[in-house]
Symmetry: C2
Subunit: 267 residues, 2 copies
Amino acid sequence: MPDTATPPATSGRRATVRRRTWLELKAAALEELREVGPSGLALRSVARRSGMSPAGLYRYVDSREGLLTALIADGYHDLADHLEVALGAAPEDLPPRERPAPSVPEIADRHAGTPQRLVAAGLAYRWWSVTHPKEFGLLFGDPIPGYEAPVAGPTVAAMSRVGTALARPLLEAADDGVLRVDPQLRATEVLGPPGAMDPLLPPHVAPALGPLLLLAWGRLHGQVSLEVFGHHRWLYPEGCEALLRIDLARTLRDLGLVAPDSGDAAP
Amino acid sequence: MPDTATPPATSGRRATVRRRTWLELKAAALEELREVGPSGLALRSVARRSGMSPAGLYRYVDSREGLLTALIADGYHDLADHLEVALGAAPEDLPPRERPAPSVPEIADRHAGTPQRLVAAGLAYRWWSVTHPKEFGLLFGDPIPGYEAPVAGPTVAAMSRVGTALARPLLEAADDGVLRVDPQLRATEVLGPPGAMDPLLPPHVAPALGPLLLLAWGRLHGQVSLEVFGHHRWLYPEGCEALLRIDLARTLRDLGLVAPDSGDAAP
DNA sequence: ATAGTGCGCGAACAGCGTTCGCATTGCAAG
DNA sequence: CTTGCAATGCGAACGCTGTTCGCGCACTAT
C-alpha cells in the first residue's frame, strides 16, 4: 500500500529523487488535465507522458481519485496564490510553490482602499477561473461521487486559504467600521449552527462575517461559474467581465461600502 | 447510422413501440444517472438495466455523449416545468412530459405580487437543484469537453424555456413600471453585442433586460451551485435556504423592487 | 559484503465504448 | 397470401481504461 504524501524518510537522496518524480508526475497530470478535463484524465496517459509504466505509477498514487485529489489541493493553492497577489502580497510572502509564479493582469489597483480590494479579489477570482477552466471544473464542478475530503487533510487546508483570502477585504472593512452588517445576517439562529469548516476559519470571521462571506462568495461564484461553463457567453460573449464588475459594485453598495466610481466598467 | 430523435415513420405500431422503448431507455439512464452521476454513467449498465444488449442500445443512441445530451434536454425541461409551476402555472398548461408531474413545496405564495414571484422562482430553482443534485451537475457542471449544443437543437430549446421562466417575473415588473433598471445595465456597449442565444429570447427581453436577467440568474445560481456541490454545507449545513432567501431579498431591493417582509427568513 | 527495502515493469483481469456481421421480426407492396 | 425490405436486436470482437500481482533490479544501511 503506497503512501502518496509521506515517504518514511524525509531526507536522503532517495527521498529527494522521489519528491522530484512526484512533482514531474503531477506536472504531467496537470498538463493532461488541461487538455482533456477532469473526467477525461487517464492514469495510463499521464504514465505515458512521464515515460513510466502504468503499474509504476501506483508507487506514487493509490488510485486515480487520489491523483485527482492531489490536483485539487494544488488547484486551490494556485487560486489562493493568485488571490493573495491580487490583494497586494509580494511573491516572497507566498508559501513555496511548484508552479510558475502567479501573475494577475492590471485589473485594479492592488493597494487601494477596501472596496477596490474587494473588487480586485473578485476580478482575480474570475481571471484565474477563466484562464484555468479545466482546473475550475475540477474544483467546483461535479464532485467525485461519494468522495468527502478529510477535514484535517491538505485539500481542506488549501480550500481554507482561498476562503480566508476572499474574506480578508471584508475583515478589513469590518475592523475599520466601514462595513454595515445586516443584523439579519448576524443572527445565528437564521442559518443554524456552524458546520465542520467552522474551526478552520479565523476565529472572528465565522460568527459575525461567515454568512456575509458566503453571500458575497456565492454571488461572485455564480457569475464566474456560468461564464466558465459556457452559459453566459451565449448571450454576451464579450461582456462577462463587465457584468461581473457591475455585480461587484452593486454588492459593495449592498454591503454599505462605497462603490468605486462608475468609470470602472471599461477595462 | 441511427437517428436518435426522428424515426422516419411517425405513426404505425413499429413507431409506437420504438418510442416506448426509447422512453424506457431514458428512464433507465436517468435512474443510473441519479445513482452514479454524469461521469459514472455507463452505457453497458443502462443496457443491463433495460434488459438489452450493449450493442442493441446503439439502435437508439449514437454514442454515450448522445444519451447524455438527451438527458440534458430532459433535465432542462424538468427544471423549467418546476419553475413554471412555482410561478403559478397549472399542470395542464405545461407541455406534455414523460416524468412525474412537478411538485414544489409550499415555499411561497404562487399567486402573490411580482417580488414574491421572483422569490418563488428562485426558491424553486434551488429546490429542484437540491432534490436533483446529479441532474444539476449534468446541466451545470463541467461541460463535456469539446461539445457544443447545436443552436437549433432541442437542448437549446429546453434551455431557453428555463431562461424565459426565470425572466418572467422581471418582465412583469418591467411592464408594471415597478422595475428600476440601472442605465449602466441598459448600455449595450458595456456588455458588447449579444451572442448566439439572443434570437431565442422574447424580443423585448434581450436588449433591455438581458443583462439584468444574467445578473440575477448568476447570483441565484452561485448560491445554489455552491450548496449542491457541497461547498456551502460545510459552514452552515442547515442555513442554505435561509441564506438564499436573504440574498434574494437583497437582490430585490437592489433592483428597486419592494423586498418581501423580513419574516420570510423562517421556513 | 550482505541483507533488506524502495522502486519500476510486464502480464493479466474485469469493465468500458464502439463496430461489425448475422439472425429475426414486423411491415408493405405485388 | 407471398415476397422482399428495412427495422431491430444480439454475439463477438477490438482497443481502451483502472487496478493488482509477482518478479527483478538498484540503491541503502549494517
